[in-house]
Protein backbone atom coordinates (compact mmCIF):
# COMPACT_ATOMS: atom_id res chain seq x y z
CA UNK A 1 0.00 0.00 0.00
CA UNK A 2 1.24 3.48 -0.78
CA UNK A 3 1.94 5.90 2.04
CA UNK A 4 -0.89 8.21 0.99
CA UNK A 5 -3.37 5.30 0.92
CA UNK A 6 -2.30 4.24 4.44
CA UNK A 7 -2.61 7.83 5.66
CA UNK A 8 -6.14 8.22 4.24
CA UNK A 9 -7.22 4.87 5.64
CA UNK A 10 -5.96 5.81 9.10
CA UNK A 11 -7.60 9.23 8.83
CA UNK A 12 -10.95 7.67 7.91
CA UNK A 13 -10.70 5.16 10.77
CA UNK A 14 -9.67 7.81 13.27
CA UNK A 15 -12.44 10.23 12.37
CA UNK A 16 -15.32 7.77 11.87
CA UNK A 17 -14.56 5.16 14.53
CA UNK A 18 -13.04 7.72 16.88
CA UNK A 19 -16.06 9.94 16.30
CA UNK A 20 -18.35 7.04 17.17
CA UNK A 21 -16.46 6.41 20.42
CA UNK A 22 -16.69 10.10 21.36
CA UNK A 23 -20.39 10.20 20.47
CA UNK A 24 -21.04 7.16 22.68
CA UNK A 25 -19.04 8.72 25.52
CA UNK A 26 -21.01 11.94 25.17
CA UNK A 27 -24.30 10.06 25.25
CA UNK A 28 -23.18 8.13 28.29
CA UNK A 29 -22.74 11.41 30.17
CA UNK A 30 -26.27 12.58 29.41
CA UNK A 31 -29.16 11.24 31.42
CA UNK A 32 -31.39 8.54 29.99
CA UNK A 33 -34.48 10.74 30.37
CA UNK A 34 -37.91 9.41 31.06
CA UNK A 35 -38.88 5.94 30.00
CA UNK A 36 -42.13 6.01 28.05
CA UNK A 37 -44.89 5.43 30.58
CA UNK A 38 -46.48 2.56 28.74
CA UNK A 39 -44.97 0.49 26.01
CA UNK A 40 -47.79 -1.78 25.12
CA UNK A 41 -49.21 -2.17 21.69
CA UNK A 42 -52.92 -2.38 22.17
Amino acid sequence: MSGSAIAMMILAMAVLWGGLCLAIANLGRSKEGETPEVRRDL
Binding site: S2, V15, K31, E32, P36
Partner: protein, 515 residues
Protein backbone atom coordinates in the same frame (compact mmCIF):
# COMPACT_ATOMS: atom_id res chain seq x y z
CA UNK B 1 -54.51 17.66 25.38
CA UNK B 2 -54.38 16.34 28.94
CA UNK B 3 -51.51 14.32 30.39
CA UNK B 4 -53.79 11.28 30.55
CA UNK B 5 -54.69 11.63 26.93
CA UNK B 6 -51.06 11.91 25.88
CA UNK B 7 -50.14 8.82 27.88
CA UNK B 8 -53.09 6.95 26.44
CA UNK B 9 -51.95 7.84 22.98
CA UNK B 10 -48.43 6.59 23.69
CA UNK B 11 -49.95 3.39 24.99
CA UNK B 12 -51.96 2.91 21.86
CA UNK B 13 -49.09 3.67 19.50
CA UNK B 14 -46.40 1.68 21.34
CA UNK B 15 -42.89 2.90 22.19
CA UNK B 16 -39.29 1.79 22.57
CA UNK B 17 -38.48 0.75 26.12
CA UNK B 18 -35.26 2.77 26.31
CA UNK B 19 -32.94 5.14 24.48
CA UNK B 20 -30.66 2.21 23.67
CA UNK B 21 -33.41 0.36 21.82
CA UNK B 22 -34.24 3.52 19.86
CA UNK B 23 -30.58 3.94 18.87
CA UNK B 24 -30.27 0.31 17.79
CA UNK B 25 -33.46 0.61 15.75
CA UNK B 26 -32.25 3.81 14.10
CA UNK B 27 -28.86 2.25 13.32
CA UNK B 28 -30.68 -0.84 12.01
CA UNK B 29 -32.64 1.36 9.65
CA UNK B 30 -29.65 3.37 8.46
CA UNK B 31 -27.35 0.38 8.02
CA UNK B 32 -28.71 -1.33 4.95
CA UNK B 33 -27.72 -2.85 1.66
CA UNK B 34 -26.31 0.48 0.46
CA UNK B 35 -23.65 0.45 3.18
CA UNK B 36 -22.35 -2.88 1.96
CA UNK B 37 -22.66 -2.61 -1.79
CA UNK B 38 -22.81 1.12 -2.60
CA UNK B 39 -20.33 2.99 -0.36
CA UNK B 40 -17.19 1.04 -1.40
CA UNK B 41 -17.91 1.62 -5.11
CA UNK B 42 -18.86 5.28 -4.70
CA UNK B 43 -15.64 5.88 -2.75
CA UNK B 44 -13.48 4.15 -5.34
CA UNK B 45 -15.14 5.94 -8.27
CA UNK B 46 -14.94 9.40 -6.70
CA UNK B 47 -11.34 9.93 -5.77
CA UNK B 48 -10.62 6.96 -3.47
CA UNK B 49 -9.01 8.19 -0.25
CA UNK B 50 -9.64 11.81 -1.24
CA UNK B 51 -13.40 11.07 -1.21
CA UNK B 52 -13.19 10.70 2.57
CA UNK B 53 -12.95 14.49 2.90
CA UNK B 54 -16.19 15.43 1.05
CA UNK B 55 -17.83 12.43 2.70
CA UNK B 56 -16.98 13.76 6.18
CA UNK B 57 -18.09 17.26 5.22
CA UNK B 58 -21.39 15.83 3.96
CA UNK B 59 -21.89 13.82 7.15
CA UNK B 60 -21.30 16.79 9.44
CA UNK B 61 -22.99 19.52 7.43
CA UNK B 62 -25.95 17.68 5.92
CA UNK B 63 -26.43 14.14 7.24
CA UNK B 64 -26.44 14.72 10.97
CA UNK B 65 -28.24 18.11 10.79
CA UNK B 66 -30.98 16.53 8.64
CA UNK B 67 -31.16 13.61 11.09
CA UNK B 68 -31.75 16.15 13.86
CA UNK B 69 -34.60 17.69 11.87
CA UNK B 70 -36.36 14.33 11.53
CA UNK B 71 -35.75 13.53 15.20
CA UNK B 72 -37.08 16.89 16.33
CA UNK B 73 -40.24 16.46 14.28
CA UNK B 74 -41.03 12.95 15.47
CA UNK B 75 -40.17 13.59 19.09
CA UNK B 76 -41.98 16.93 19.32
CA UNK B 77 -45.14 16.03 17.43
CA UNK B 78 -45.22 12.41 18.61
CA UNK B 79 -46.72 10.83 15.58
CA UNK B 80 -46.14 8.94 12.39
CA UNK B 81 -44.97 11.06 9.45
CA UNK B 82 -48.53 12.14 8.43
CA UNK B 83 -49.60 12.84 12.02
CA UNK B 84 -46.43 14.79 12.75
CA UNK B 85 -46.88 16.94 9.65
CA UNK B 86 -50.60 17.38 10.45
CA UNK B 87 -49.72 18.56 13.95
CA UNK B 88 -47.23 20.97 12.45
CA UNK B 89 -49.88 22.32 10.08
CA UNK B 90 -53.03 20.60 8.91
CA UNK B 91 -52.30 21.41 5.25
CA UNK B 92 -48.81 19.87 5.48
CA UNK B 93 -50.19 16.41 6.23
CA UNK B 94 -49.93 15.28 2.60
CA UNK B 95 -46.14 15.48 2.85
CA UNK B 96 -46.28 12.73 5.47
CA UNK B 97 -48.48 10.59 3.22
CA UNK B 98 -46.16 11.25 0.28
CA UNK B 99 -43.29 9.90 2.41
CA UNK B 100 -45.46 6.97 3.50
CA UNK B 101 -46.30 6.12 -0.11
CA UNK B 102 -42.62 6.10 -1.01
CA UNK B 103 -41.92 3.67 1.83
CA UNK B 104 -44.69 1.37 0.58
CA UNK B 105 -43.12 1.30 -2.89
CA UNK B 106 -39.63 0.61 -1.53
CA UNK B 107 -40.86 -2.20 0.75
CA UNK B 108 -42.29 -4.04 -2.24
CA UNK B 109 -38.94 -4.48 -4.03
CA UNK B 110 -36.58 -4.36 -1.03
CA UNK B 111 -37.97 -7.70 0.17
CA UNK B 112 -37.02 -9.29 -3.15
CA UNK B 113 -33.32 -8.52 -2.68
CA UNK B 114 -33.39 -10.02 0.81
CA UNK B 115 -35.02 -13.11 -0.69
CA UNK B 116 -32.22 -13.43 -3.25
CA UNK B 117 -29.65 -13.07 -0.46
CA UNK B 118 -31.36 -15.84 1.48
CA UNK B 119 -31.13 -18.18 -1.50
CA UNK B 120 -27.52 -17.20 -2.17
CA UNK B 121 -26.55 -17.81 1.45
CA UNK B 122 -27.71 -21.40 0.97
CA UNK B 123 -26.02 -21.64 -2.44
CA UNK B 124 -22.75 -20.46 -0.84
CA UNK B 125 -22.40 -23.73 1.06
CA UNK B 126 -21.72 -25.77 -2.09
CA UNK B 127 -21.05 -22.86 -4.47
CA UNK B 128 -24.20 -23.75 -6.35
CA UNK B 129 -23.71 -21.05 -8.99
CA UNK B 130 -21.11 -23.18 -10.77
CA UNK B 131 -18.29 -21.88 -12.94
CA UNK B 132 -20.02 -18.76 -14.30
CA UNK B 133 -21.78 -16.75 -11.54
CA UNK B 134 -22.82 -13.98 -13.96
CA UNK B 135 -24.58 -16.36 -16.31
CA UNK B 136 -26.07 -18.29 -13.38
CA UNK B 137 -27.58 -15.15 -11.83
CA UNK B 138 -29.52 -13.88 -14.84
CA UNK B 139 -30.02 -17.32 -16.37
CA UNK B 140 -30.61 -20.22 -14.05
CA UNK B 141 -31.41 -18.17 -10.94
CA UNK B 142 -33.61 -15.27 -12.13
CA UNK B 143 -34.52 -16.90 -15.47
CA UNK B 144 -34.60 -13.31 -16.62
CA UNK B 145 -36.99 -12.57 -19.45
CA UNK B 146 -36.12 -10.15 -22.24
CA UNK B 147 -37.01 -6.67 -20.89
CA UNK B 148 -38.85 -6.03 -24.17
CA UNK B 149 -41.41 -8.65 -23.18
CA UNK B 150 -42.54 -6.45 -20.27
CA UNK B 151 -43.99 -7.79 -17.03
CA UNK B 152 -44.47 -11.53 -17.00
CA UNK B 153 -46.39 -13.80 -14.69
CA UNK B 154 -43.97 -16.67 -15.17
CA UNK B 155 -43.12 -17.47 -11.58
CA UNK B 156 -39.64 -18.75 -10.69
CA UNK B 157 -39.79 -21.06 -7.64
CA UNK B 158 -36.16 -20.33 -6.76
CA UNK B 159 -36.89 -16.66 -6.11
CA UNK B 160 -40.58 -16.99 -5.20
CA UNK B 161 -40.11 -19.26 -2.18
CA UNK B 162 -37.39 -17.18 -0.44
CA UNK B 163 -39.47 -14.06 -1.08
CA UNK B 164 -42.49 -15.63 0.61
CA UNK B 165 -40.27 -16.67 3.55
CA UNK B 166 -38.96 -13.10 3.91
CA UNK B 167 -42.48 -11.66 3.98
CA UNK B 168 -43.65 -14.23 6.57
CA UNK B 169 -40.70 -13.36 8.84
CA UNK B 170 -41.13 -9.60 8.41
CA UNK B 171 -44.90 -9.67 8.94
CA UNK B 172 -44.35 -11.67 12.14
CA UNK B 173 -41.83 -9.05 13.35
CA UNK B 174 -44.19 -6.19 12.53
CA UNK B 175 -47.12 -7.89 14.25
CA UNK B 176 -45.09 -8.18 17.48
CA UNK B 177 -45.15 -4.40 17.77
CA UNK B 178 -42.78 -1.49 18.29
CA UNK B 179 -40.76 -2.85 21.21
CA UNK B 180 -41.01 -6.63 20.90
CA UNK B 181 -40.87 -6.61 17.11
CA UNK B 182 -39.09 -3.58 15.63
CA UNK B 183 -36.91 -2.77 18.66
CA UNK B 184 -35.98 -6.32 19.66
CA UNK B 185 -35.08 -7.25 16.06
CA UNK B 186 -32.54 -4.45 15.85
CA UNK B 187 -31.14 -5.08 19.33
CA UNK B 188 -30.42 -8.68 18.31
CA UNK B 189 -29.59 -8.27 14.61
CA UNK B 190 -27.24 -5.27 14.71
CA UNK B 191 -24.62 -6.74 17.08
CA UNK B 192 -24.77 -10.04 15.14
CA UNK B 193 -24.36 -8.11 11.87
CA UNK B 194 -21.33 -6.20 13.14
CA UNK B 195 -19.75 -9.40 14.49
CA UNK B 196 -20.41 -11.31 11.24
CA UNK B 197 -18.96 -8.52 9.13
CA UNK B 198 -15.94 -8.14 11.39
CA UNK B 199 -15.15 -11.83 10.92
CA UNK B 200 -15.66 -11.40 7.17
CA UNK B 201 -13.28 -8.44 7.09
CA UNK B 202 -10.59 -10.32 9.01
CA UNK B 203 -10.93 -13.30 6.68
CA UNK B 204 -10.86 -11.06 3.60
CA UNK B 205 -7.76 -9.24 4.85
CA UNK B 206 -5.93 -12.57 5.14
CA UNK B 207 -6.52 -13.34 1.44
CA UNK B 208 -3.65 -12.81 -1.02
CA UNK B 209 -4.09 -9.53 -2.89
CA UNK B 210 -6.17 -7.92 -0.14
CA UNK B 211 -3.64 -5.13 0.30
CA UNK B 212 -3.90 -4.29 -3.41
CA UNK B 213 -7.63 -3.88 -2.94
CA UNK B 214 -7.16 -1.51 0.00
CA UNK B 215 -4.57 0.40 -1.98
CA UNK B 216 -7.06 0.87 -4.82
CA UNK B 217 -9.76 2.01 -2.39
CA UNK B 218 -7.73 4.47 -0.33
CA UNK B 219 -5.15 5.90 -2.76
CA UNK B 220 -6.26 9.52 -3.01
CA UNK B 221 -6.91 11.26 -6.29
CA UNK B 222 -6.75 14.84 -5.06
CA UNK B 223 -7.81 16.26 -8.43
CA UNK B 224 -11.25 14.72 -7.82
CA UNK B 225 -11.89 17.30 -5.07
CA UNK B 226 -12.22 19.97 -7.75
CA UNK B 227 -15.09 18.08 -9.40
CA UNK B 228 -18.60 19.07 -8.25
CA UNK B 229 -19.85 15.60 -9.22
CA UNK B 230 -17.61 14.09 -6.54
CA UNK B 231 -19.05 16.40 -3.89
CA UNK B 232 -22.55 15.61 -5.10
CA UNK B 233 -21.74 11.89 -4.84
CA UNK B 234 -20.60 12.39 -1.22
CA UNK B 235 -23.77 14.23 -0.22
CA UNK B 236 -25.88 11.69 -2.13
CA UNK B 237 -24.19 8.78 -0.36
CA UNK B 238 -24.75 10.32 3.07
CA UNK B 239 -28.33 11.27 2.26
CA UNK B 240 -29.41 7.86 0.92
CA UNK B 241 -27.50 5.96 3.60
CA UNK B 242 -28.91 7.63 6.71
CA UNK B 243 -32.64 6.88 6.11
CA UNK B 244 -33.45 10.57 6.35
CA UNK B 245 -36.19 12.61 4.76
CA UNK B 246 -38.81 9.96 4.12
CA UNK B 247 -40.52 9.30 7.40
CA UNK B 248 -38.47 6.58 9.07
CA UNK B 249 -36.62 8.71 11.59
CA UNK B 250 -39.75 10.79 12.28
CA UNK B 251 -41.62 7.60 13.12
CA UNK B 252 -38.85 6.13 15.28
CA UNK B 253 -38.31 9.41 17.16
CA UNK B 254 -42.01 9.47 18.03
CA UNK B 255 -41.51 6.19 19.91
CA UNK B 256 -38.93 7.64 22.32
CA UNK B 257 -39.43 9.39 25.64
CA UNK B 258 -40.06 13.11 25.59
CA UNK B 259 -36.87 13.82 27.52
CA UNK B 260 -34.58 11.74 25.32
CA UNK B 261 -31.26 13.31 24.29
CA UNK B 262 -32.07 13.40 20.58
CA UNK B 263 -28.94 15.27 19.46
CA UNK B 264 -26.57 12.97 21.36
CA UNK B 265 -28.44 9.94 20.03
CA UNK B 266 -28.31 11.30 16.48
CA UNK B 267 -24.56 11.74 16.67
CA UNK B 268 -24.15 8.09 17.66
CA UNK B 269 -26.46 6.93 14.85
CA UNK B 270 -24.70 9.06 12.24
CA UNK B 271 -21.19 7.94 13.17
CA UNK B 272 -22.25 4.30 13.65
CA UNK B 273 -23.71 4.24 10.15
CA UNK B 274 -20.63 5.81 8.57
CA UNK B 275 -18.29 3.69 10.71
CA UNK B 276 -20.00 0.56 9.43
CA UNK B 277 -19.74 1.85 5.85
CA UNK B 278 -15.99 2.18 6.29
CA UNK B 279 -15.81 -1.39 7.60
CA UNK B 280 -17.77 -2.52 4.52
CA UNK B 281 -15.39 -0.67 2.24
CA UNK B 282 -12.39 -2.42 3.78
CA UNK B 283 -14.00 -5.86 3.63
CA UNK B 284 -15.34 -5.53 0.10
CA UNK B 285 -12.13 -4.12 -1.41
CA UNK B 286 -9.93 -6.64 0.37
CA UNK B 287 -12.04 -9.35 -1.26
CA UNK B 288 -11.97 -7.59 -4.65
CA UNK B 289 -8.18 -7.31 -4.36
CA UNK B 290 -8.01 -11.08 -3.96
CA UNK B 291 -10.32 -11.56 -6.96
CA UNK B 292 -8.17 -9.28 -9.13
CA UNK B 293 -4.98 -11.11 -8.18
CA UNK B 294 -6.58 -14.51 -8.78
CA UNK B 295 -7.65 -13.41 -12.27
CA UNK B 296 -4.38 -11.60 -12.99
CA UNK B 297 -6.03 -8.25 -13.66
CA UNK B 298 -6.03 -4.80 -12.04
CA UNK B 299 -8.45 -4.17 -9.17
CA UNK B 300 -10.19 -1.54 -11.30
CA UNK B 301 -11.28 -4.25 -13.71
CA UNK B 302 -13.21 -6.24 -11.11
CA UNK B 303 -14.79 -3.38 -9.18
CA UNK B 304 -18.57 -3.62 -9.05
CA UNK B 305 -21.45 -2.26 -7.01
CA UNK B 306 -25.00 -3.11 -6.13
CA UNK B 307 -26.51 -6.30 -7.45
CA UNK B 308 -23.44 -6.97 -9.61
CA UNK B 309 -21.17 -6.88 -6.57
CA UNK B 310 -23.38 -9.07 -4.39
CA UNK B 311 -24.60 -11.67 -6.86
CA UNK B 312 -21.79 -11.84 -9.43
CA UNK B 313 -18.49 -10.56 -7.99
CA UNK B 314 -18.85 -12.05 -4.51
CA UNK B 315 -19.88 -15.52 -5.75
CA UNK B 316 -16.75 -15.43 -7.94
CA UNK B 317 -14.65 -14.54 -4.90
CA UNK B 318 -16.35 -17.23 -2.81
CA UNK B 319 -15.62 -19.84 -5.49
CA UNK B 320 -11.93 -18.98 -5.58
CA UNK B 321 -11.15 -18.13 -1.95
CA UNK B 322 -9.96 -20.61 0.66
CA UNK B 323 -12.87 -21.27 3.07
CA UNK B 324 -15.04 -19.51 0.50
CA UNK B 325 -18.25 -21.13 1.75
CA UNK B 326 -17.76 -19.58 5.18
CA UNK B 327 -17.05 -16.20 3.58
CA UNK B 328 -20.18 -16.55 1.48
CA UNK B 329 -22.43 -17.42 4.38
CA UNK B 330 -21.07 -14.43 6.34
CA UNK B 331 -21.53 -12.05 3.41
CA UNK B 332 -25.07 -13.04 2.50
CA UNK B 333 -26.09 -13.33 6.16
CA UNK B 334 -24.87 -9.74 6.57
CA UNK B 335 -27.02 -8.66 3.61
CA UNK B 336 -30.03 -10.42 5.13
CA UNK B 337 -29.55 -8.91 8.61
CA UNK B 338 -28.93 -5.40 7.28
CA UNK B 339 -31.81 -5.76 4.84
CA UNK B 340 -34.38 -6.99 7.34
CA UNK B 341 -33.72 -4.23 9.90
CA UNK B 342 -34.07 -1.67 7.11
CA UNK B 343 -37.20 -3.29 5.64
CA UNK B 344 -38.77 -3.38 9.09
CA UNK B 345 -38.18 0.37 9.47
CA UNK B 346 -39.63 1.08 6.03
CA UNK B 347 -42.77 -0.93 6.79
CA UNK B 348 -43.10 0.67 10.21
CA UNK B 349 -43.58 4.07 8.53
CA UNK B 350 -46.63 2.75 6.67
CA UNK B 351 -48.07 0.73 9.55
CA UNK B 352 -47.64 3.60 12.00
CA UNK B 353 -49.31 6.04 9.59
CA UNK B 354 -52.32 3.77 9.01
CA UNK B 355 -52.60 3.08 12.75
CA UNK B 356 -52.57 6.73 13.65
CA UNK B 357 -55.03 7.76 10.95
CA UNK B 358 -57.59 5.02 11.39
CA UNK B 359 -56.98 4.16 15.06
CA UNK B 360 -56.41 0.51 14.29
CA UNK B 361 -54.89 -2.21 16.46
CA UNK B 362 -51.27 -3.24 15.90
CA UNK B 363 -52.22 -6.60 14.41
CA UNK B 364 -54.97 -5.05 12.30
CA UNK B 365 -52.78 -2.32 10.82
CA UNK B 366 -49.93 -4.78 10.24
CA UNK B 367 -52.22 -7.04 8.24
CA UNK B 368 -53.93 -4.22 6.35
CA UNK B 369 -50.56 -2.84 5.28
CA UNK B 370 -48.33 -5.89 4.93
CA UNK B 371 -50.60 -8.38 3.22
CA UNK B 372 -51.37 -6.28 0.12
CA UNK B 373 -47.73 -5.17 -0.13
CA UNK B 374 -46.59 -8.81 0.17
CA UNK B 375 -49.00 -9.90 -2.58
CA UNK B 376 -47.83 -7.13 -4.94
CA UNK B 377 -44.22 -7.92 -4.07
CA UNK B 378 -44.64 -11.62 -4.77
CA UNK B 379 -46.53 -11.05 -8.06
CA UNK B 380 -44.01 -8.49 -9.37
CA UNK B 381 -40.80 -9.95 -8.00
CA UNK B 382 -41.35 -13.70 -7.97
CA UNK B 383 -41.32 -13.81 -11.76
CA UNK B 384 -38.91 -13.70 -14.68
CA UNK B 385 -39.29 -9.90 -15.03
CA UNK B 386 -38.15 -9.21 -11.47
CA UNK B 387 -34.76 -7.62 -12.25
CA UNK B 388 -36.10 -5.19 -14.85
CA UNK B 389 -38.95 -3.92 -12.68
CA UNK B 390 -36.73 -3.75 -9.58
CA UNK B 391 -34.02 -1.74 -11.32
CA UNK B 392 -36.51 0.82 -12.67
CA UNK B 393 -38.44 1.21 -9.41
CA UNK B 394 -35.30 1.50 -7.29
CA UNK B 395 -33.75 4.17 -9.50
CA UNK B 396 -36.81 6.40 -9.82
CA UNK B 397 -38.28 6.13 -6.33
CA UNK B 398 -34.89 6.98 -4.81
CA UNK B 399 -34.18 9.97 -7.01
CA UNK B 400 -37.62 11.36 -7.69
CA UNK B 401 -39.33 10.03 -4.59
CA UNK B 402 -37.03 10.22 -1.57
CA UNK B 403 -34.83 13.07 -2.78
CA UNK B 404 -37.73 15.18 -4.08
CA UNK B 405 -39.92 14.77 -1.00
CA UNK B 406 -36.96 15.55 1.25
CA UNK B 407 -36.25 18.84 -0.52
CA UNK B 408 -39.94 19.84 -0.66
CA UNK B 409 -40.56 18.90 3.00
CA UNK B 410 -37.49 20.80 4.14
CA UNK B 411 -38.47 23.94 2.25
CA UNK B 412 -42.05 23.77 3.59
CA UNK B 413 -40.93 23.26 7.20
CA UNK B 414 -38.30 25.99 7.09
CA UNK B 415 -39.60 28.63 4.73
CA UNK B 416 -43.39 28.19 4.61
CA UNK B 417 -44.29 27.06 8.13
CA UNK B 418 -41.19 28.59 9.76
CA UNK B 419 -41.02 25.78 12.32
CA UNK B 420 -37.26 25.69 12.77
CA UNK B 421 -37.09 27.82 15.96
CA UNK B 422 -39.65 25.58 17.70
CA UNK B 423 -37.84 22.44 16.58
CA UNK B 424 -34.46 23.82 17.70
CA UNK B 425 -35.97 24.70 21.05
CA UNK B 426 -37.28 21.15 21.39
CA UNK B 427 -33.88 19.63 20.58
CA UNK B 428 -32.15 21.95 23.03
CA UNK B 429 -34.55 21.15 25.88
CA UNK B 430 -32.88 17.79 26.58
CA UNK B 431 -30.14 17.50 23.98
CA UNK B 432 -26.50 17.16 25.02
CA UNK B 433 -25.34 18.94 21.85
CA UNK B 434 -26.95 22.36 21.58
CA UNK B 435 -28.24 23.30 18.15
CA UNK B 436 -27.69 26.97 17.47
CA UNK B 437 -27.37 29.25 14.49
CA UNK B 438 -25.16 26.78 12.61
CA UNK B 439 -28.00 24.25 12.48
CA UNK B 440 -30.51 26.82 11.30
CA UNK B 441 -28.20 27.98 8.50
CA UNK B 442 -27.40 24.45 7.40
CA UNK B 443 -31.01 23.26 7.40
CA UNK B 444 -32.59 26.38 5.95
CA UNK B 445 -30.04 27.25 3.28
CA UNK B 446 -27.14 24.87 2.76
CA UNK B 447 -28.82 21.43 2.73
CA UNK B 448 -31.80 22.41 0.52
CA UNK B 449 -29.42 23.99 -2.01
CA UNK B 450 -27.13 20.95 -2.08
CA UNK B 451 -29.97 18.43 -2.33
CA UNK B 452 -31.75 20.64 -4.87
CA UNK B 453 -28.58 20.71 -6.99
CA UNK B 454 -28.32 16.91 -6.89
CA UNK B 455 -32.02 16.62 -7.77
CA UNK B 456 -31.69 18.91 -10.81
CA UNK B 457 -28.62 16.99 -11.99
CA UNK B 458 -30.53 13.71 -11.69
CA UNK B 459 -33.51 15.11 -13.60
CA UNK B 460 -31.29 16.31 -16.40
CA UNK B 461 -29.33 13.06 -16.73
CA UNK B 462 -32.47 10.90 -16.53
CA UNK B 463 -34.35 12.95 -19.12
CA UNK B 464 -31.42 12.75 -21.51
CA UNK B 465 -32.05 9.09 -22.40
CA UNK B 466 -34.44 6.23 -21.61
CA UNK B 467 -33.29 4.70 -18.34
CA UNK B 468 -31.32 1.46 -18.74
CA UNK B 469 -32.48 0.99 -22.33
CA UNK B 470 -35.69 -0.55 -21.00
CA UNK B 471 -39.04 -0.23 -22.87
CA UNK B 472 -40.35 3.30 -22.49
CA UNK B 473 -43.74 2.21 -21.20
CA UNK B 474 -42.08 0.29 -18.33
CA UNK B 475 -39.98 3.29 -17.38
CA UNK B 476 -43.09 5.49 -17.57
CA UNK B 477 -45.20 3.17 -15.39
CA UNK B 478 -42.75 1.74 -12.84
CA UNK B 479 -40.40 4.74 -12.87
CA UNK B 480 -41.90 8.16 -13.45
CA UNK B 481 -45.46 6.89 -12.93
CA UNK B 482 -44.95 5.37 -9.50
CA UNK B 483 -42.79 8.23 -8.26
CA UNK B 484 -45.47 10.71 -9.36
CA UNK B 485 -48.50 8.66 -8.29
CA UNK B 486 -47.61 8.74 -4.60
CA UNK B 487 -48.12 12.52 -4.56
CA UNK B 488 -51.85 12.71 -5.51
CA UNK B 489 -52.51 9.57 -3.45
CA UNK B 490 -50.93 11.37 -0.49
CA UNK B 491 -53.11 14.43 -1.05
CA UNK B 492 -56.26 12.26 -1.24
CA UNK B 493 -55.49 10.32 1.96
CA UNK B 494 -54.68 13.58 3.75
CA UNK B 495 -58.26 14.72 3.04
CA UNK B 496 -59.66 11.89 5.18
CA UNK B 497 -60.60 13.21 8.62
CA UNK B 498 -58.66 12.12 11.69
CA UNK B 499 -60.54 9.97 14.22
CA UNK B 500 -61.67 11.76 17.41
CA UNK B 501 -59.13 10.03 19.70
CA UNK B 502 -56.19 11.29 17.62
CA UNK B 503 -56.02 15.05 18.11
CA UNK B 504 -54.00 17.00 15.61
CA UNK B 505 -52.80 19.47 18.24
CA UNK B 506 -49.26 19.18 19.59
CA UNK B 507 -49.18 17.04 22.76
CA UNK B 508 -49.14 19.58 25.60
CA UNK B 509 -46.44 17.80 27.60
CA UNK B 510 -44.00 18.31 24.77
CA UNK B 511 -44.27 22.05 25.09
CA UNK B 512 -43.36 22.13 28.80
CA UNK B 513 -39.58 22.04 28.47
CA UNK B 514 -39.59 24.47 25.57
CA UNK B 515 -41.26 27.21 27.57
Amino acid sequence: MTRETAATQDARRGAFSSRLVFIFAAIGSAVGLGNIWRFPYVTYENGGGAFILPYLVALLTAGIPFLYLDYAMGNRYRGSAPLSFARMHRKAEFLGWWQTGICAVIAVYYAAIIGWSLRYMLLSVDKGWGEDPAQFFTGQFLQMADPASGVTLDFVPGILVPLVVVWIVVIAIMALGVQKGVGATSVIFIPVLVLAFLILVVQALLLPGAIDGLDALFTPNWAALGDTAVWAAAFGQIFFSLSIGFGIMITYASYTGRRTDMTGSGLVVGFANSGFELLCGIGVFAALGFMAQAQGVAVGEVVASGIGLAFVAFPTIISEAPAGAFLGVLFFASLILAGITSLVSILEVVISAIRDKFEMTRIGSTMVVSMPLAVVSIVLFGTTSTLTVLDIMDNFINKFGILLVAVVSMVVIVWVLRELPALASHLNAYGSIPVRGWWTVLISVFVPIVLGFILVQEFRSTLAKTYGGYPEWMVSVFGWGLAAAVIPIGILVAMVRWRPDTPTEIPARNMEAER
